[in-house]
Symmetry: C2
Subunit: 222 residues, 2 copies
DNA sequence: ACAGAAACTTGCGTGCACGCAATTTTGCGT
DNA sequence: ACGCAAAATTGCGTGCACGCAAGTTTCTGT
């Protein structure tokens, strides 16, 4: 009973989720700048000090729920794409899909995170853990691939996504001064796709170097 | 006289460098944890508040000098490699070289940054700006390349380097079982090279898509 | 040369991250 | 059921990042 079944673990998870949801709710309601740690802690029924035992920054709690949601979504999108297509198409489509399809909460949430610098920075950090998830999904699909290679490719994908995100909202914030000079919006999915395209050769090459995905039902270990 | 010739700009640069060198010197002398912002500010002859007008964290000043050094070194290594070879080889060799060849100060500096978590995190952030430098160098060498592509590839290289660095010192972090011998398994340059290898196809493909630096076979649109 | 503007510095106040040690809660063996 | 050990919570103190509103230095036009 070391894992999730213990009372202890359940309580920890409960407070963590309470903190996350409270933080997100308050941030959406009052604006992210007008939320004190004390408020979040009080809403979750713990002391402010305990908050920092769960999250190491004020923004982290706000972002955590959305980020976790995204990770799960990405993994599902990658593993859900059964077989046959190249790694590049698989990964790119999965990333685009995970950004198109909103998870549970985020409607204004994503926009708030994107437009608030502090939250954006925190979200970028959280993306790092998503990269690990991606790497895991990739090795699951192509067992013969080198783990290091998978990790590098996943990190590259994350970096490209980050750039696409940055460009997208940099273009979106401009138009206050110049009426119509720079078209404010390409769609974010398109931007991500074009940002990811340069990495396609590396993805396909890696998949080709290793064993291509198996025609048969044998499930390799690990 | 808007640029570097003004008195104002010269003074700003002077204080910035004073803060950087003081921070690095104190960190090396006393250990990074035992340096107060107040000390650095006093050593540079400014108020503690002014320190935060130049650097937004305590670690940033320590890392800044080394990071800037690295950026210059990398750019030189990329542009210095005359022509003819593939983009992948060029970039990989340049990155490895910039990590092998120590700049001015860093002897223990790099090791200190690598082993102190807070400094490492800050250095990783600084690497982001190095990526921009790399992207610039790449577009200088291959003018026909899409700027976005260059940026993505540079970010991918940065991400791979980050992973190599992390793996290297994760292997080096031996618990207290063996005191005295903390020899890292494998050299860092080798680790970087292997981490960068999976990206080679993407780099070469991008260079081929654009105009190669010498008149070669024309490449079809992708 | 001089007055006004723009930029930089500084002190102050606030909220936050985190180490430390005391206290409470939970888990487990007997 | 009981008690001890491990773990989590909490309060406190310290150092830090940053907005704000003076005060000071540099730049610019006339």
């Amino acid at each position: 009973m070391n894992d999730a079944s213990g009372l202890r673990e359940r309580k920890k998870r409960a407070t963590r989720e309470a903190l996350q949801s409270a933080a997100l709710r308050l941030a959406l309601a009052q604006g992210p700048e007008n939320v004190r740690v004390e408020e979040i802690a009080e809403a979750a029924g713990v002391s402010p000090r305990t908050y920092n035992n769960y999250f190491s920054s004020r923004e982290q709690a706000i972002v955590a729920a959305v980020a976790a949601d995204r990770a799960a979504q990405l993994a599902a999108a990658v593993t859900g794409r059964p077989a046959g297509s190249g790694l590049a198409d698989t990964v790119i489509d999965a990333v685009v899909a995970s950004c198109t399809d909103p998870g549970d909460h985020p409607r204004g949430a994503l926009l708030m995170i994107a437009t608030t610098p502090a939250l954006r920075a925190c979200y970028v950090d959280a993306v790092t853990s998503i990269e690990d998830t991606l790497a895991g999904a990739v090795t699951a699909r192509h067992p013969g691939i080198d783990p290091l290679t998978a990790q590098v490719l996943a990190a590259a994908v994350g970096a490209a996504t980050r750039i696409a995100l940055r460009r997208w909202l940099h273009a979106a914030t401009v138009p206050a001064s110049m009426p119509g000079f720079v078209v404010p919006a390409g769609s974010l999915p398109d931007g991500i796709r074009t940002a990811l395209t340069p990495l396609a050769p590396a993805l396909d090459a890696a998949a080709l170097d290793a064993a291509p995905d198996e025609p048969g039902p044998m499930s390799p270990a690990r």
